[in-house]
Amino acid sequence: MKILAFGIVKDIFSNSIVEIDLKDNATIDELKILLEQKYPRLNQLGSYMVAVNNEYASASDVLHKGDEVAVIPPVSGG
């Protein structure tokens, strides 16, 4: 599954988009565990969110094929 990255996460991934192998019906929490194994610097963020199809997702939300998934580090607009 393609994962979009923004801000500091782009630096952590060294890319604005990465590919992650996910089992069917994986949850946001399971995605975060995989990402943190592959990119341990994610753990140094105070917190980060995952957005699915342009909406903030909860830990137990299930990912579906074709979803637009993005890692959202702490925002700092305004």
Binding site: G7, I8, L45, Y56, A70, P74, V75, S76, G77, G78
Partner: protein, 139 residues
């Protein structure tokens, strides 16, 4: 049209933002203008770079505007955010709220900038003489 949302790589035009909300029904307009400061914790800022997850940011800005229209008797609300490279003194954000009475305009405008800073996926990188840092990434 009660809501005007924009993310733009071009400089924001404050006067035309205000012109958009003006109407004979309106009695008070409150405007918030963010500007790029030349110092952060005493360190000189050379420039800023704003990056947006644009489709989601537009959605979150619209949610804030819809909430404002539900919470306060507001006639019009405009939220414009700039992206790309900004020099100190330039304007990353303009929020304009028009209402029949000023209390609603003040409260709604403040709620909008406070919420925008918490929920809208836009990131600011501060560039100093000796390096750069994504703001809020290391709380």
């Amino acid at each position: 049209m009660k809501i005007d949302i924009k993310i733009s790589g071009e400089p924001l035009n404050i006067q035309s933002c205000i012109d958009w909300v003006m109407s004979p029904e309106c009695g008070g307009i409150n405007v918030f203008i963010g500007t790029v400061r030349n110092l952060t914790k005493g360190k000189k800022v050379i420039r800023l770079e704003f990056e947006a997850y644009e489709s989601m940011a537009i959605g979150e800005m619209n949610k804030i505007a819809e909430d404002v229209l539900k919470k306060w008797p507001v006639q019009k609300i405009l939220i414009h955010h700039r992206t790309g490279i900004l020099q100190t003194g330039e304007v990353p954000v303009v929020i304009v709220v028009a209402a029949a009475h000023r209390d609603a305009a003040f409260d709604a405008c403040r709620y909008t900038i406070d919420t925008l800073k918490q929920t809208v996926p836009i990131w600011k990188k501060e560039v100093f003489e000796d390096g750069e840092t994504w703001v809020a990434a290391h709380p």
